[in-house]
């Protein structure tokens, strides 16, 4: 397979351009236009992550362009729709299904772990690990930092959960574990590959403007995302599937969404 990095750089530039355009619209626009700008910027980031993962996983442009653009389009639609109604977030749920379909159709995607694991044990382990870390986060944040734990608005909670399922956890799992970890794991041993991939995950969440800027929160993000990253890499390596890690990440973020300051 040819090295994918030139295409990754080109895609990165396109993503940054799209994201900047979205942010510009958000800054200059008012009312619904500002929301659309924010939605487009968010969709550009997640679509970009998915597209870069697709490039790394599949390689040649003719093979990734169509699938990646298709996913980015749905992502943008879901992002815009969710700005106007929480039900619009349900569109995010189409993305995991599309991924599973793509995995069944393209052998190259099974190569990076898009597919179901051979047995149920890693799935249960993934859910347990995510739930444990999520519960730990809740207890730790409430006891240490005084955060509250409750679901204030069920609609918004479900919208956030749909976003995590279809965009946040999916793009993280797809790019960092599926594409990058798989790519490096075929060249290096487990620990260097897992460290590099987890390092990028931590960086991605530290750069996320939605993350509160306090030092405790940032330290917590580094701590939990590191544990979650290594845990997902181990699950991907042992099961050969992204599903257990995806479930772990989703379970963790479902817990995270219950935190209120």
């Amino acid at each position: 397979m040819p090295e994918p990095w030139p295409a990754v750089v080109r895609a990165g530039i396109a993503v940054m351009a799209a994201c900047s355009a979205g942010l510009l619209v958000q800054a200059l626009g008012r009312g619904w236009l500002s929301s659309v700008g924010h939605a487009l910027a968010s969709a550009a980031v997640h679509g970009g992550l998915l597209a870069i993962g697709w490039i790394v996983a599949v390689g040649h442009p003719p093979r990734w362009r169509k699938g990646a653009l298709w996913l980015a389009g749905i992502l943008a639609l879901a992002s815009v729709a969710s700005r106007f109604t929480p039900w619009g977030s349900l569109l995010y749920l189409a993305l995991p299904i599309l991924f599973l379909r793509a995995g069944a159709r393209h052998a190259a995607l099974r190569w990076v772990g898009v597919g179901l694991p051979a047995e149920l044990r890693p799935v249960a382990l993934g859910l347990a690990a995510g739930a444990f870390l999520g519960a730990h986060l809740l207890v730790s944040a409430s006891m240490t930092l005084g955060y509250g734990i409750r679901i204030v608005n069920p609609g918004q909670y479900l919208a956030a959960a749909a976003y995590d399922l279809g965009a946040n956890a999916l793009s993280a799992e797809w790019l960092f574990r599926g594409a990058l970890f798989s790519h490096w794991w075929r060249r290096w041993e487990f620990w260097p590959a897992a460290s590099a991939s987890t390092g990028l995950v931590v960086l991605r969440y530290l750069l996320d403007p939605a993350l509160p800027g306090t030092i405790e929160v940032r330290a917590g993000a580094v701590f939990y995302m590191t544990l979650l990253g290594f845990c997902s890499c181990a699950l991907r390596a042992s099961s050969g599937s992204l599903l257990p890690g995806y479930l772990a990440t989703t379970a963790f973020f479902l817990a995270y969404r219950m935190l209120i300051q």
Binding site: V112, F132, S140, M143, W185, E189, S241
Partner: protein, 524 residues
């Protein structure tokens, strides 16, 4: 980048012996232990607060570093829920340090104990695998079957997806066995590369490694490849190739190297045993052949005595009969003259038999024949013999063409004459229905500096199986067509002895039913 992970499978079996189905139980016990430990801590029962180490110890002993580390991590995280709020509320003090140490202890304890457990298990598995290898390689089987067993044992011991053993020094002629069994051996594979270069290889992903032909596995796991030359004191014997998903730890690589060394010893021993067995079989066959030959010789000698007795009796009876007739009554002169001619002929015959017996005696005693070498005109010798036999055997057609380029031959005239007479006599005897007998002489085409005297007939010929023994003493090849042929079975043995005494040789080409061609080759 190729560092061994802290505890990536020491040996596959060691890692797989973890409490796979007991994960939930481990977590439950850890939770209970930490809760009990925390409660004990809260109640001031400080010695009991390290109770949480017990499940970590159990997980490390049962599942090695992987499960010990995981359980220790969970225990540490649970401790953090108690320790960190304490620091937040009361600030950092001596108790906080104690709490932080309590957080770190289970993880490091689990990893350390687990690692020791893994190492001891890996060593145990390696030793057992090496013993099994030796047993398999010493079994009483064909080399290929022994190697197949050994490959399977290496595969199981290292938890590999495929193991190939290539024994030989060239790809084309090597014995290749794989576990599980595969039909083909790719000449572009990593194993073939190591066989050619003799260098060990570690490939992170054989499937994506451009140096080699893609291997069979193309799933979500990389196929790590470790290819080691199998070398003994006598040189390179072959290659051990191990394919494994998810990587090789250093312990595993060391294990594979040890197995390669034991494979070399085993293969060398197996080859030696097979060679000894082959040698013993060969020796046995040779002894059996020699015994058969001796039995044949004994039988031939008995027949010879019987034939000699018969051959001597015939002329003796004639001599006795005719001499008694001459002594007992007055015989008319013409009749007496005929009787005397008969007496003379039989005496000559007796003389020939005695002469042959004397020759035999000389051959038997191993003494050298005394040759009186002189320049011989081979053309003249052949012509005289052709005329002599033509006069006696009217049914045969004797062909002889003088050869102008025949070099002068320095040899014993009588010996050459006897060789020719024996060969011509055989040609006549074994052409019972008459036919052509061709005599030729000239420089040999295939032996430099040799003169060739050839006698060719259209007779019954000799079967290929009899050709190797026709020059032996007492041997007479009989067939229904030549059952009446008389002789002592010494003629060809004598020809060979005389030819060799001259520094030459005798050769024969024959086809049953087509005839024979005898060639006497003498140095000039």
């Amino acid at each position: 980048m190729r560092r061994a992970g802290p505890r990536e499978d020491s040996v596959a079996s060691a890692a797989s012996s973890g409490p796979s189905g007991r994960t939930v139980a481990v977590i439950a016990v850890v939770l209970a232990a930490v809760t009990a430990g925390s409660a004990a801590d809260a109640l001031g029962l400080s010695p009991l607060r390290h109770f949480y180490l017990l499940p970590v110890l159990w997980a490390a002993l049962a599942g090695g570093a992987r499960w010990g580390g995981l359980t220790g991590l969970i225990a540490g995280l649970l401790q953090a829920l108690v320790v960190l709020p304490g620091i937040e509320w009361f600030g950092f003090g001596p108790e906080s340090l104690d709490g932080l140490l309590s957080m770190i202890t289970p993880l490091s304890f689990g990893l350390l104990v687990g690692r020791l457990v893994d190492e001891s298990r890996a060593r145990d598995i390696r030793l057992r695998a090496v013993l099994d290898l030796q047993r398999s390689l010493n079994r009483d089987l064909a080399l290929e079957d022994r190697l197949r067993l050994a490959a399977e044992q290496v595969r199981v011991a290292l938890g590999a997806i495929r193991v190939s053993l290539v024994i030989g020094d060239a790809v084309e002629s090597a014995i290749v066995v794989t576990a599980p069994v595969a039909l083909d051996f790719d000449h572009g594979s990593a194993a073939a590369w190591t066989l050619c270069t003799g260098r060990a290889i570690y490939a992170d992903d054989l499937h994506g490694d451009g140096r080699f032909a893609p291997c069979s596995g193309d799933g979500p796991f990389p196929v790590r490849g470790l290819v080691l030359p199998i070398e003994s004191g006598s040189g390179r014997l072959g290659v051990l190739a191990v394919e494994r998903a998810k990587g090789f730890s250093w312990a595993m690589r060391d294990g594979a190297r040890q197995m390669a060394v034991h494979l070399a010893l085993g293969v060398e021993n197996a080859r030696l045993t097979l060679r000894q067995r082959h040698f013993a079989d060969e020796l046995e066959a040779k002894v059996a052949e020699a015994t058969d030959r001796l039995a044949d010789l004994d039988r031939a000698k008995s027949e010879f005595v019987s034939v000699v007795a018969h051959e001597l009796r015939t002329p003796l009876t004639a001599l006795q009969g005719f001499s008694e007739l001459l002594l007992a009554r007055a015989v008319p002169p013409e009749r007496a003259s005929r009787f005397v001619r008969h007496l003379h002929t039989e005496a000559q015959r007796l003389g020939r038999i005695v002469g042959e017996l004397l020759d035999l005696s000389r051959i038997e005693s191993g003494g050298t024949l005394v040759l009186h070498r002189e320049a011989i005109d081979v053309n003249e010798l052949l012509e005289r013999n052709a005329e002599l036999f033509a006069a006696q055997h009217r049914d045969h057609r004797f062909e002889w063409t003088p050869c102008l380029g025949v070099p002068a031959l320095e040899a014993d005239r009588d010996a050459v004459d006897r060789m020719l007479k024996n060969l011509i006599s055989n040609a006549v005897k074994y052409s019972p229905g008459g036919g052509r007998v061709a005599l030729t002489a000239g420089p040999s085409d295939d032996h430099a500096d040799m003169l060739e005297l050839a006698v060719e007939d259209d007779g019954v010929g000799i079967a290929a199986r009899d050709l190797p023994r026709i020059f032996d003493k007492y041997v007479r090849i009989t067939s229904p067509e030549t059952a009446m042929v008389r002789g002592l079975g010494l003629g060809l043995a004598l020809v060979r002895t005389l030819a060799e005494a001259h520094g030459g040789m005798v050769e024969v080409e024959s086809l049953p039913g087509k005839g024979s061609r005898f060639r006497v080759l003498l140095p000039v």
